[in-house]
């Protein structure tokens, strides 16, 4: 497999997801607009649904924050990847952002040089291996507001599911209004300090129509969703029933002494796609 193939997928994906709300998220917004009991909440949901229609119709971005680009390449272990993967992806990103008129939102260095790199590169790239051939390319445009509203903590194992739940609720209470609710809340549990944030972000990729296979996890997700929506924060944080559309959790092995947990907020303008490559 050639890295330029991955670049081509990324280029097309960026242009598509910037203007088209993820269909499962749009469907969830429509359902929420029917259930929402707050007048203001329904007005806001109405604006978001109308926004999705206008963006697709006019071919303009759903949100002015067209984000940083996260690419997760799941590569079949039998494949041989030739070429400069980071270089091809960055080329694709710079071309797609210029051609589609998207906003350039990357600072050259977090601390030492905050000038805009001017082409939205570098992209943030993860590569993992899986058995077999082929690959899946996951592409997400991640806004600053929702990432800024995210959090992680190293809990103790004895904190258990209740500790995880409390941390998620606490994070929502403190940070939801800046993350553009209604949210998709990604929760990562396990791994190590550096891995748990990626788990939370990957959880956002899961379609809203697909509950986790483990019923214990599905129950925990449903419990957290009900508790979040009982807070009353509501669409745009202006009051109402619909603070989150879904809570998605991914769990993983970890050290016997550890219980890492991370919350990655997904905003109401969720922009991602997963593309299979033969």
């Amino acid at each position: 497999m050639d890295a330029s193939t991955i670049g081509g997928v990324v280029r097309e994906a960026v242009a598509q997801v910037a203007v088209r709300l993820r269909p499962d998220v749009l469907a969830a917004l429509r359902e929420a607009a029917i259930r929402e009991r707050s007048d203001r909440g329904r007005e806001v949901l109405g604006q978001l649904i109308e926004n999705a229609r206008i963006a697709e119709e006019d071919g303009v971005p759903l949100c002015q924050d067209t984000g940083t680009v996260w690419v997760w390449l799941e590569l079949g272990a039998d494949e041989c990847l030739a070429g400069d993967l980071q270089g091809e992806i960055d080329l694709a990103v710079s071309q797609a952002y210029r051609e589609a008129g998207l906003r350039m939102s990357v600072a050259g260095d977090a601390l030492l040089d905050r000038s805009n790199t001017g082409d939205n590169t570098p992209a943030f790239v993860d590569v993992t291996l899986r058995p077999g051939t082929g690959a899946t390319v996951h592409v997400m445009l991640k806004g600053g507001g929702s990432d800024n509203s995210s959090a992680m903590r190293m809990l103790d194992p004895t904190d258990g599911p209740d500790g995880v739940r409390r941390f998620v609720i606490e994070t929502i209470e403190a940070k939801a209004t800046g993350a553009c609710p209604p949210l998709v809340v990604g929760v990562g549990v396990g791994g190590t300090f550096d891995k748990v944030g990626v788990l939370a972000k990957r959880a956002l990729l899961r379609p809203l129509t697909a509950p986790p296979q483990d019923t214990r996890l599905a129950d925990l997700e449903a419990e957290m969703l009900a508790e979040i929506n009982a807070l009353g924060i509501g669409p745009a944080g202006l009051g109402g029933d619909t603070t989150a559309l879904a809570v998605h959790a991914i769990t993983a092995p970890c050290h016997i002494a550890a219980l890492p947990v991370a919350v990655n907020m997904g905003c109401c303008a969720m922009r991602s796609v997963s593309v299979d490559v033969d």
């Binding site: 303009v60 008129g101 209004t177 745009a236």
Partner: protein
């Protein structure tokens, strides 16, 4: 449900004083986009010159970094960014004469106090509705700091731009009050 207030910009202070928290409003007239880097520069200029630069006295600051203009649109997508990041500078700017601010999300106690002191209002627009909001932007003009790219100071001409009153001149804070009010209204607490 109360009607929708029509506000012509730059706003009259007396008109701002009539607005109540939670009220819907439509803004028409000029606003000036300003984000993090712009705020740093504006406050530096204010301190060296002793007055607000670029005719900003009495005007509205919009926390936004639009996408570039395309196909005859003044901006293809423009919406509010998180206001909290500007909180450190806002009391200084309100005291110097900025009439109102427009963004999204909760703000600090110091900003609420400054709104009361200066008779200023904080408007909130819906985050994530930028394609819709851009249809309410009629014109765009570069005013200063073009080298900052999307963070430049840009004058946008709004027409019936939909917002909510998030902090009023009496210091009522929609982000603090709305969840509790809603829990009470639906009878959960």
């Amino acid at each position: 449900m109360p009607g929708v207030a029509k506000i012509h910009l730059p706003p009259q202070r007396s008109k701002l004083a009539e607005l109540a928290v939670g009220e819907q409003a439509r803004l028409s007239g000029p606003v000036f986009t300003a984000r993090d880097a712009t705020h740093e520069r504006l406050v530096a200029e204010l301190e060296s010159k002793g007055a607000l630069p670029y005719g900003l006295e009495g005007q509205v600051l919009f926390y936004a970094g639009p996408t570039p203009p395309v196909r005859g649109r003044a901006a293809s997508a423009v919406g509010p960014t998180t206001a909290r990041r500007m909180d450190a500078y806002t009391p200084t700017l309100l005291d110097a004469g900025i009439a109102a601010t427009l963004g999204k999300g909760a703000r600090s106690r110091a900003v609420i106090d400054a709104c009361v002191r200066a008779g200023s209002v904080y408007f909130a627009a819906v985050g994530g509705a930028a394609a819709l909001l851009a249809r309410h932007v009629r014109a765009s003009e570069m005013i200063a700091y073009p080298e900052l790219g999307t963070e430049a100071l840009v004058r946008l001409e709004l027409e019936d731009f939909p917002v909510y009153v998030a902090i009023d001149v009496h210091g009522h804070d929609l982000y603090a009050e709305a969840p509790a009010n809603w829990r009470e209204e639906r009878g959960d607490s």
